[in-house]
């Protein structure tokens, strides 16, 4: 398990996209704050997806704030991965893990 180094963000607030902000936190957990225009139908799915992406990258101690404007799941995944890579200033990106 690794921590992210700093706060970072990715995405936009526009329709069919998501604006994702992440930051390191003290507690050993994945804290998710989701605001979605499709909360009623897909809120739980989006939360599951976020946890899955973070677990796959073996990350903990992270807070994720998502403004979702009806983004498709691969958009959310890509935005979250981008934010995590930015938070770690990753130069050697493990593409096979993404």
């Amino acid at each position: 398990m690794s921590k992210i180094k700093k706060r970072a963000h990715a995405g936009t607030l526009e329709s069919s996209d998501a604006f994702i902000e992440i930051e390191p936190i003290e507690e050993d957990k994945i804290k998710i704050e989701l605001q979605s225009s499709v909360e009623e139908m897909y809120g739980d799915d989006i939360r599951e997806l976020i946890k899955k992406v973070i677990n796959e990258l073996d990350i903990s101690h992270i807070s994720v704030k998502v403004q979702d404007k009806g983004a498709l799941d691969y958009v959310i995944k890509a935005r979250l991965q981008a934010a995590i890579l930015r938070a770690n200033d990753d130069e050697k990106i493990k593409w096979d893990k993404l």
Binding site: H9, T12, L13, E14, S15, F19, Q35, K65, Q67, K69
Partner: protein, 335 residues
């Protein structure tokens, strides 16, 4: 979205484009806010259709032309403004707006802090207020009369010291907040340090670092503009409502003490507003009693920090000695 829409970003030095934004806002009946550093605009062909600006931590002048509303332009403008702020290292942002725009900015990740009499709202994009309230809650003290003072102390004088002594005497416990913004002649670190030294003989006082929520450039920008009377009454009211509705309940504050203000128009107006905002029932929180304490005089003139700054300019330490505590005097001699 129409492909002919283009966005651009520029700063306040680009006079020609800033003028266009000013005209755009005036044409739709909005004031052009002063002191914006960065602008974002949307154009359709050559027509300006939306704009927004950033001033420190505060997003300002966000508007969409009436005939182009409902297209989501505001979301694009906000994304760009947030990106500009983040790239400057500014993470915690504020928006002043009117209550009818609450939903719009909630969709951009902002939370309502205060709705002041349905006239003005303040929103923020972080949880900082909740976190700050938790910190205050842990510093709560028991008692029937819990006093409070908010001071800039630029720098700490015998007048400030007298106010703190009087307030502490009338309170079971006294919470003293120091304005945190570094927009005054003396740095926050020095101001709070001199306050702590100057009240060290008082046993029932806690000195708190201020925050964005007490007379800060984010929530109360006009406090720091010295042009007389230019204070924005709505901002003053908002500042006091945040104090009453959020900060005071966390600490159980029942009283707020201020010194009478003979010279500074800004502070004087603020004090006038204060009584009304703190004491009248508002349906949201308990009233706080405001107590004005007569200023101490020296040689027929009230002691004020501005007098200290005047004497300091001409290095008149004999006069300074009469109006500041020894700890402040020592500091001033070593500048």
């Amino acid at each position: 979205m129409d492909s002919s829409i283009s966005f651009s970003e520029f700063d306040c030095l680009n006079n020609r484009r800033v003028k266009r934004v000013e005209k755009f806002l005036n044409d739709i009946g909005l004031d052009f806010p002063s002191s914006i550093e960065n602008f974002v605009i949307a154009k359709d062909g050559d027509e300006l259709i939306a704009c927004g600006g950033l001033d420190g931590k505060v997003l300002k002048g966000i508007a969409v032309a009436p005939h182009r509303r409902g297209e989501g332009l505001i979301l694009s403008i906000m994304t760009r403004l947030i990106n500009i702020a983040y790239s400057k290292g500014i993470k915690d942002l504020f928006i002043f707006s009117t209550p009818n725009n609450t939903d719009l900015f909630e969709d951009c990740g902002f939370k309502l802090i205060e709705n002041c009499d349905n006239e003005i709202i303040l929103m923020e994009n972080s949880n900082n207020l909740e976190n700050y309230k938790k910190i205050l809650l842990s510093k709560r003290k028991d008692g029937n009369t819990i006093g409070s003072i908010v001071m800039n102390a630029n720098p700490f004088t015998l007048g400030h010291q007298y106010l703190v002594e009087q307030a502490a005497e009338r309170s079971d416990w006294l919470h003293l907040f120091v304005v945190k913004e570094d927009l005054s002649e003396f740095k926050f670190k020095d101001r709070i340090d001199l306050i702590k030294k100057g009240v060290s003989h008082i046993s029932n006082v806690t000195v708190h670092e201020g925050s964005d929520y007490i007379i800060s450039n984010a929530t109360f920008p006009t406090y720091f503009i010295k042009d007389k009377g230019k204070i924005n009454e709505l901002h003053a009211k908002l500042d006091l409502r945040i104090f009453r509705d959020h900060l005071a309940p966390a600490l159980g504050i029942t009283h707020r003490f201020v010194g009478t203000e003979p010279y500074c128009v800004v502070t004087n107006n603020y004090n006038k507003n204060m009584k009304k905002v703190l004491e009248e029932p508002n349906g949201a929180s308990n009233p706080i009693e405001m107590v004005e304490i007569q200023r101490v005089e020296k040689d027929g003139k009230a002691i004020s920090a501005s007098r200290v700054r005047e004497f300091l300019k001409v290095k008149n330490f004999n006069e300074l000695e009469k109006i500041v505590p020894s700890s402040t005097l020592e500091f001033l001699k070593n500048i």
